[in-house]
């Protein structure tokens, strides 16, 4: 079955989008202070990853996530990688993601990043590059999951003929991962509430993993155990909490005192080993844009292996040689502010006027640690349907890697594309859409 035939079989995108609407595939967005739910536009043409490609991506991602988990354990314990001079101390302690309060805490089975979302792009020459690591609360797995459910109904023939690996095992994989981190009790998913951008995902994953979806006011910590307050006045112990709120808001008695969405003394229960937290608090130190540069070095340091997947060529103005290169080639590089996320704080040198470029150069010289610079990768564009016509657009791939007893790569992923032909930014919060990602089994 060709791509055209598949597209035809899936119908025009409206039909599938109509079904996605019906099942509530939405994300919330605040515009001018008003909450709106938007449907996440789905493009029916799947991204296809060949069996051979996936095998090498899979190995590379497992390797990367294993090294990142070792790194996190090391940073919150002996700090060997710093003491051995592989990663400069500054990059750890200036990172907003480093949480001193987590020093010495060892999560169950030493797993810090249970669910890792690694963003990759494929260049025109076919090579895959890592764009960034997301080890805090990577979102997006639910979208391809439900889209697959619907496209299998709409175009059964495509799945009959193409030997696409079934991706609907994600919920099972997630449940196993949660159980591996479980310290004795029920599984719960903590959401900040229905006005969160990813609320659909929180509730969908709760439904499909058989977890209780909770908000902070339903929970309390007593005698260093986390409990769900039941409506009859009783309590049910929670053994593992997949939290979808940021570290800083997790426990007002340990982190931000003004947090209204946290659970007081959760960190004491966690430190005592009475509850697993997915992902571990403090992971932000490893997915910091500044730390990204060092991940290939981590792989060599901890695993004594050569990195299988490449980073995009990256420069750290912190190092004098790199600063020289960056200031001289600013007009061709992409500059990222290490403190920003979600597609914000990304500047393409080629978009800037001469004056702006000069201004930016000064900012970088004044705050060298705040930025990283990367060569612009010549993305392989993907076809998308736009008003009945196929057009080519930039797209990336968020791969999901789950670390339980073993580290496993989900044979699918979230392919996000930019709807704007001139844009490289694919985030849903910036108006992008998504595609299903097919991994072929042969």
């Amino acid at each position: 079955m060709t791509q055209q035939q598949f597209t035809k079989a899936v119908g025009n995108a409206n039909e599938i989008n109509e079904l996605l609407r019906r099942y509530g595939v939405k994300f919330g967005i605040y515009k001018n202070g008003v909450f709106n739910e938007q449907f996440f536009p789905f493009d029916p043409i799947p991204r296809v990853i060949t069996h051979e490609d996936f095998q090498s991506i899979e190995k590379g991602l497992v390797q990367r996530v294993n090294a990142l988990n070792e790194f996190l354990f090391d940073i919150y314990h002996d700090k060997k990688i710093v003491n051995d001079g592989v990663v400069p101390e500054d990059f750890i302690y200036i990172s907003k993601g480093y949480l001193a309060q987590c020093e010495g805490i060892t999560p169950k089975n030493n797993v810090y990043s249970h669910i890792s979302g690694i963003d990759l792009v494929q260049a025109k020459d076919g090579e895959w590059y890592i764009l960034e690591d997301n080890l805090r609360i990577p979102s997006g797995a639910s979208y391809p999951l439900i889209a697959r459910e619907l496209t299998r109904i709409a175009a059964p023939q495509a799945f009959e003929e193409n030997s696409v690996v079934d991706n609907r095992s994600y919920a099972k994989l997630l449940k196993e991962t949660m159980e591996y981190a479980n310290c004795g009790g029920i599984r719960a998913i903590l959401t900040p509430g229905r006005y969160n951008a990813a609320y659909f995902e929180h509730s969908y994953l709760a439904e499909h993993t058989g977890s209780v979806l909770v908000q902070n006011d339903e929970l309390f910590v007593e005698d260093n155990m986390l409990y769900h307050r039941t409506y009859s006045g009783g309590k049910t112990r929670i053994g593992v909490l997949y939290r979808r709120i940021a570290d800083e808001y997790l426990d007002p008695l340990t982190f931000l005192p003004e947090s209204l969405i946290g659970i007081p003394n959760l960190m004491e229960a966690y430190r005592s080993g009475n509850v697993g937290i997915i992902n571990a608090p403090g992971n932000g130190v490893a997915d910091d844009k500044g730390i990204y540069y060092f991940v290939p070095k981590m792989i060599k340091y901890y695993l004594e292996e050569e990195p299988i997947l490449k980073n995009a060529p990256t420069y750290l103005p912190f190092y004098n040689n790199d600063m020289k290169y960056v200031t001289e080639h600013l007009d061709t590089l992409v500059i990222k502010d290490v403190a920003e996320a979600g597609g914000y704080g990304v500047v393409f040198g080629s978009d800037l006027t001469k004056e702006k470029l000069e201004e930016f150069r000064k900012t970088i010289i004044a705050e060298p640690r705040r930025f990283i610079a990367q060569e612009v990768i010549d993305f392989l564009d993907l076809p998308i349907l736009d008003k009945g016509k196929t057009v080519m657009r930039k797209a990336d791939l968020r791969a999901f890697i789950l670390s339980g007893k073993e580290t496993k790569v989900w044979a699918s992923g979230l392919t996000r594309f930019s709807r704007n032909p001139d844009s490289f930014v694919v985030n849903s919060s910036q108006g992008g859409g998504f595609k299903d990602t097919w991994v072929l089994s042969r």
Partner: protein, 256 residues
Amino acid sequence: MKRINFYYSTKLTFDDYVHNHSFALRIIPPETPSQINISCALNINPFVSTQQTIDAFGNNVTSGYLREDHRFLDFEIKGTADIDHTKYRTDYMPCYLYQSEYTQPDSILKNFYDGIKGNCTGSASERAAYLSNVLSDTISYEKGSTDTKTTAAQAFMLKKGVCQDFSHILISLLRMDGIAARYIAGLAFCDGETHSWVEYWTGDHWEGIDPANNCPISDDYLVISQGRDFRDCAIDRGVMFGKYTKQLQLVRSVLS
């Protein structure tokens, strides 16, 4: 070495009932080479089951949860400790070298440091003493102009503050100077309330300095909690629910 008796109490009173009250106390003095607890008793009223943990900075954390309605929460600690400040403490953490929430300098504080750094020379102890001297010439001790939320930069702008502000500014200056420093909350000879001072890293151990009094610490200083700044060291933190509008806190402490 000196044997001291200590007493500290806090009475929290609310103007209406509160419930689902979680708290975390950093009130039991940590055991360190320079400080050994001979006896130590913690009383909390109303009765509540508590748990003990040790946090990342080495503090004893007592946590508890009061589900039922109550209008007050009192806790007091009474004990005896042997203090010998000449015994070295070596529990270093690299994060103490970096500015934290309360100590982050603004451009004014940075400029101030740039203006004095030429004279800030010698060993870590000499530099700490110098910075503390400059500080006591620049900032006046005055109650009421700052509160527990005041940062080093804000207090420096006001040019006045209490022991907490002196500590934050000194820590900020020490860290700018490349010396790791930490905040200490504890009890000292001054009766009535808790005191705060600073420890700086000499290269192989911690030394204490009291910037509010511009003097080195002695065996009359009992450490209760320590951390990057006040936020890590708050003796009591709590979250509670109810229609209360005011909470009154009475603190009493005695060191003898």
